[in-house]
Amino acid sequence: MFDKRIVWIALFALIAIGVTACATGGGYPSKALEIVAPAGAGGGWDTLARTVQRSLEVEKLYPQPVTVVNKVGGGGGVGLAYIFTKKGDDYELVVYSPPLIINTLNKTFENNYKELTPLAKLITDYQVIMVKADSPYKTLGDLIAALKKDPGSVKIAGASSPGSMDHLSVAKLAKAAGVEPGKMVYIAFNDVGSGISALLGGNVTCMSTGAGESIAQLEAKTVRVLGVSSAERRGGALKDVPTWKEAGFNVTYEVWRGIFGPPGMSADAKKWWGETLKKMAGTKTWKESLEKLQWVDAYADADAFAKFLTEEEVSYKELMTATGFIK
């Protein structure tokens, strides 16, 4: 006959499962997801957040609604402060790129990004250095030689303030070449367009900008791109452009973009997202979007991403100390 105790245990077990199921809606994920884009609509972070949203929805990887929310301001600081109010909330994700580290190191951000839960590195982009088409500097070596001789004679334009990516990427190259990065003259312009216009008007010597931003000018043959910061040669319009390494400077610079969970995300949710993002990175929707946006796939899982971030921080710390942005 049945032991009554077994019936009782079975009954309690059923109730317990039922209660847990109600609480979590049948395991993770049971609720709508919110992805934070820490900048305004239309920028790189926003585009990435929306591309992830679309891929999750179209490929039916997330069973609940996915929304993107823009938290604008503070170079991403407003978004970071927001995600820090969501500690332990498994239904919040946020996208970031190198400014996450840069703005933590220069103390623009009040929160330490290391408390975030890295989930995956998704894509990457590269930096280029370009001069006007009729510039006397034919190669990256020429330009660096001039920098070595008299750092003040080379005016470097970029489209963001000193101590941000356009500046630090050249600083990294210069440092590798033995030039004192703190002695370089870097001039910040409000946007890529006005920087290019200063370059073409002969007001500056060269410009540091994203690889994608150089393509239109390169195709119009108004500029010469001296080098790209990737490890291997890029294709398309940039196929004839040497990498910095090929030009003789053993250094690369990556503009990565990745996705994070809030501080204190549960291990279950972290594991679930590790698997799901890996699946997402292999889907047709995701790959088509990357091609359309000219992004380079750079998928790395949570552990590899965390290790990469540690290396990045060391590299940025060195670079920013050399340029005087960490005192």
Partner: protein
């Protein structure tokens, strides 16, 4: 033919149903704003910018340009029928327009205003199309030093013409420049005046300041003076169209008004209100029946209405080709374009031809729409004046807060809006013009960056501003415009000095 190619491109953009709709919506809303006394084109555009969020930039600017033109048109209607100018630029129209309406000739007065506006608007658009690309191509050679001095000249010209008192206008400009320094400094990456508040790192939102200073302070002024003035409204009697005699008298006035408005109000940057006064002065000197001016002469309506529209068009040339707003309204439009991610200026013609030519084509279309909207529907527009003030005030408050909140979903912006609303009210009470604040705020950041970029290029030498010819020219222009009010004293002083001043 580049000319027709561009125009064809423009019309292909402007004639899409959605853009036609935005042009119509713009001129419609603009006319409403123009008719409503107190809500000027600046307030109107500031208040309506949030509805352009999410629109493609071309549709957004078509909408805003429509509002701008529509407000210029609508302002004349109330001047003529109620003797209450809807805009400062329609004040002059009251002089003869209301008299004409009293004599039962409201129809021809309204028609003359509409036709004058149409002719001038079309003229200004045509000139923009013809000289715009050349001006822009020329300005492409400008480097940071030229931009700095050009913006300095723009700022001083508008400031020197902004209010009755140069000191108060300068004060306003300085407040604007000070606001522009809030946030992360581009050349050093250092935050300024943010007091550790992350939302201030990107600076104050332009729209918060604009809506606060214009729309919300408008409400406060209205509430402070809450009195429903009984306005006698004149009925429209007789024909709506001009007689042969009217045409004969109005045509030269249209031409004089258009030209003077375009050059004084537009190119020289004096603005639509000054342009309309100026053209009225010309009529007083040059019109055939100059003795009749002030008693209901059609020239007195035709010339200033043409002038204020020509000035509005001229100011757009500055905005689109050089990126320098020539008036308070275009300063607000510049702010809005920057929010859409477009940097007006010479590069715009190269990089965004469909945007520039689409706008130009839609201006033709908008002008034609306005002519149709205004003449047969004039009775409807006048009815807008029946909206009670308290209702109007509520709507302005609603749209102000809604507009600001939808931008960043930030509650801090709402508090800032209140602060600027109260500041705007106090400034109005002190007779300090608000337009230079907006101008200073919009240009301040660009100007500071251009100056510091120049100094980095020159290794710190200020000589860069005087050794480059165009930079020197703009610098001199700035000096001339800011000292302008004092010339007469210098003249008087000189005459005294030489002892030759003939006693009056």
């Amino acid at each position: 033919m580049w000319f027709f190619d561009n125009l064809a491109l423009g019309f292909s953009v402007a004639l899409t149903p959605i853009n036609l709709f935005y042009a119509l919506l713009g001129v419609f809303l603009g006319t409403v704003i123009g008719v409503l006394p107190g809500i000027g084109p600046m307030t109107g555009i500031a208040l309506l910018i949030p509805i352009t969020f999410g629109l493609p930039p071309t549709s957004a600017i078509i909408l805003m340009a429509g509002i701008y033109y529509g407000a210029m048109y609508g302002g004349s209607t109330t001047s003529i029928l109620v003797n209450t100018p809807g805009e400062s630029s329609s004040v002059v129209t009251c002089f003869d327009g209301y008299q004409m309406a009293k004599q039962g000739r409201a129809g021809p007065a309204l028609a003359a205003a509409a036709i004058g506006s149409f002719i001038a608007g079309t003229f200004a658009t045509l000139v923009l199309m013809l000289i715009g690309p050349a001006v822009a191509a020329f300005a492409l050679n400008f480097g940071p030093p030229e931009y700095f001095t050009l913006m300095l000249a723009g700022l001083t010209v508008v400031t020197s013409l902004a209010g009755r008192s140069l000191v108060k206008a300068l004060l306003a400009t300085t407040i604007g420049l000070a606001i522009a320094t809030i946030g992360i400094d581009l050349q050093s990456g250092v935050p300024r005046y943010t007091f550790g508040n992350p939302e201030l790192l990107d600076g104050l939102e332009f729209l918060v300041v604009a809506i606060g200073l214009f729309a919300l302070s408008e409400v406060l002024v209205n509430l402070a003076d809450l009195r429903q003035a009984i306005q006698e409204r004149l009925a429209i009697k007789g024909g709506l169209w001009l007689t042969r005699e009217d045409w004969r008298r109005a045509t030269p006035a249209f031409i004089r008004g258009t030209l003077s408005g375009f050059f004084v109000g537009g190119i020289a940057g004096a603005g639509a209100a000054v342009a309309s006064f100026f053209s009225y002065g010309i009529e007083k000197k040059m019109a055939k029946h100059k003795a009749e001016l002030g008693t209901g002469a059609i020239e007195g309506v035709a010339a200033p209405e043409a002038a204020n529209n020509a000035a509005a068009g001229g100011a757009l040339i500055h905005l689109l080709c050089l990126g320098i707003p020539g008036s308070g309204t275009t300063a607000i439009m510049l702010g809005a374009l920057l929010m859409l991610g477009l940097q007006p200026g010479p590069l715009l013609f190269q990089q965004q031809p469909q945007f520039v030519w689409g706008l130009i084509a839609s201006m033709y279309i908008g002008n034609a729409m306005l002519l149709v909207l205004n003449l047969p529907l004039v009775g409807m527009w006048v009815k807008i004046l029946d909206i009670p003030l308290y209702l109007l005030v509520l709507f302005i408050i609603l749209f102000s807060f809604l507009g600001v909140y939808t931008m960043n979903n930030s509650t801090q912006d709402l508090f800032l809006l209140l602060v600027f609303g109260i500041l705007g009210y106090l400034l109005r009470r002190l007779d300090i013009p608000a337009a230079p604040i907006i101008l200073g705020m919009v240009l301040g950041d660009l100007m500071e960056q251009a100056m510091r970029q120049s100094l980095l290029i020159s290794d710190g030498s200020y000589a860069i501003f005087v050794t480059r010819p165009f930079s020197l020219f703009f610098l001199l222009l700035a000096i001339v415009s800011i000292t302008n009010p004092y010339w007469k004293y210098i003249g008087v002083g000189l005459r005294r000095w030489f002892g030759r001043g003939a006693p009056a």
